[in-house]
């Protein structure tokens, strides 16, 4: 009986999270367009629905109705696999992101996370690494030089930045003493946010996150002026939509990871001093998670419409000569700090 109940709850969580992510992704696209419009003194989409709010659905409908084109020289199986893989990785990572504290419901303790895995951070790193395969596959299987260059650039870029990302996380782990995201969040109670304790690690992680999600100023894999569309040049219809959704889902993951690792996750500083009931507390905390995430998403978009793209050599320079030493420095700093505090 309890097993069944746990299963149903888990299924419900999966369904809810999947929908939340997908809808957030759709509206992220909408906000991307809106914010770019504002930054350029334009209005942005305003035709479909009130203030253009139904625009995402129109976009999806359009993509659905488009012809699915597979180039003659493409390796069809891998060409089809790539977008599926990309989307799978993007959605799968969400399983371990805690978006609220555990609450007791019907006598069972329910963590606000699909799977409270004790090595959640490793899981995240593993999945994002698989994400590189999706892009590399797409680039190689298209049988087009633009795609291939996009794919190669992407893998090189991701490998380079994963290193500094990993070291940045190492700093966090030293503090939390656990690989479980939930524990990491809990370790940042009060104002003990990692962002404040290890600002260098925070900055290197954020920059690496930009690079990992292929967002400007690091969007070399799909640099339009030089590579047409990069790895997804030869994709159309829903396969293209797969990459498109994955890109935005990755943004959400990156934001929620930053929130989890550096900005105290769902924690609201000094909330417990207000003495509210458990339910209200949980609601505020979940809300705070989404607010933090939203601010970061806005930051992602804001950066995109402010900064120009890096050159490839500059990208590598930054990754290896700046980010890597800095993140190492942060590990040392975090170790010293951890020893001093504890």
């Amino acid at each position: 009986m309890e097993m069944w109940f746990a299963f149903v709850v888990a299924l419900l969580k999966v369904i809810i999270i999947a929908h939340v992510v997908l809808i957030t992704v759709s509206y992220l696209v909408y906000f991307e367009r809106k914010i770019s419009a504002w930054a350029q003194n334009r209005i942005g989409p305003n035709r479909v629905g009130p203030a253009g709010l139904l625009q995402p659905f129109a976009d999806v409908l359009k993509l659905l109705l488009k012809e699915d084109i597979v180039p003659t020289n493409a390796n069809k199986k891998i060409h089809t696999l790539a977008p599926i893989l990309a989307l799978f990785v993007a959605m799968g990572t969400f399983a371990v992101i805690p978006i609220g504290p555990s609450i007791t419901l019907f006598g069972i303790v329910n963590p606000f996370v699909v799977a409270d895995v004790n090595i959640g951070i490793l899981y995240v790193l593993a999945l994002t690494s698989i994400g590189v395969y999706a892009i590399t596959f797409a680039g190689w299987s298209s049988g087009s030089k633009y795609s291939l260059i996009g794919g190669v650039r992407s893998s090189a870029q991701m490998i380079s930045y994963e290193i500094s990302m990993g070291f940045s996380i190492a700093g966090v782990l030293l503090f939390a003493g656990s690989l479980s995201p939930q524990m990491i969040v809990e370790s940042q109670s009060g104002l003990m946010w990692n962002a404040l304790l290890q600002p260098i690690g925070f900055i290197t992680f954020v920059v690496a996150a930009f690079a990992e999600t292929n967002r400007l100023p690091f969007d070399l894999p799909e640099a339009e002026p030089e590579l047409v569309g990069g790895f997804h040049t030869e994709y159309s219809s829903m396969k293209f939509a797969g990459f498109f959704l994955a890109e935005y889902a990755n943004m959400i993951i990156a934001s929620s990871l930053i929130v989890t690792l550096y900005l105290g996750g769902w924690q609201v500083p000094f909330l417990e001093k207000l003495g509210l009931s458990e339910g209200v507390n949980a609601a505020i905390q979940v809300g705070s998670f989404f607010v933090k995430m939203g601010v970061l998403l806005f930051f992602f978009i804001w950066v995109r419409w402010s900064l120009p793209r890096f050159r490839y050599d500059q990208l590598m320079d930054l990754g290896w000569k700046v980010m890597f030493p800095l993140s190492l420095l942060n590990v040392v700093w975090a170790a010293v700090l951890a020893m001093w505090i504890k």
Partner: protein
Amino acid sequence: MAEKKRLKDLTLWEKMYVPEVVKGLKSTMKQMFQPRFTMEYPEVKFEPVGSYRGRPVLVMEAGGEERCVACGLCSRVCPALAIEVQAGETDREKERYPEKFEINMLRCIFCGLCEEVCPEEAIVMSKDYELTFSNREDAIYGKDKLLKPITELQDRIDFLRSNK
């Protein structure tokens, strides 16, 4: 290869990059609160000024006759080969007139060379920018669509004369 020197070396502050990024972010943020320039097109229409180069039209004199004498210079100068003229003879004082005058609006690139070369000020660029057709044949504008009364074109003609 000798290393190229920059015009101006970056200062340490600039080399740190992050402050410059913040500057850029500040600039875009400021723009987000500036007034918008977008015109909501089908409801609000852009009213072009005299210097605007919309679709080329033929000037129709007050008497309902075209000014064009079918000299064919516009057709000769047209870089897109969009204009086709067939001359004919009339009893009017200018004995030559265009029996057929067609502009393929799919080919037209709105460069205005036809207007510039015209010795009779007979073809001018109008303010009309709304061009839609549902097939290729409709895109070929004949005299019926090209002739426009001179009163509607006064702006452009004034502009041309003041900039001779």
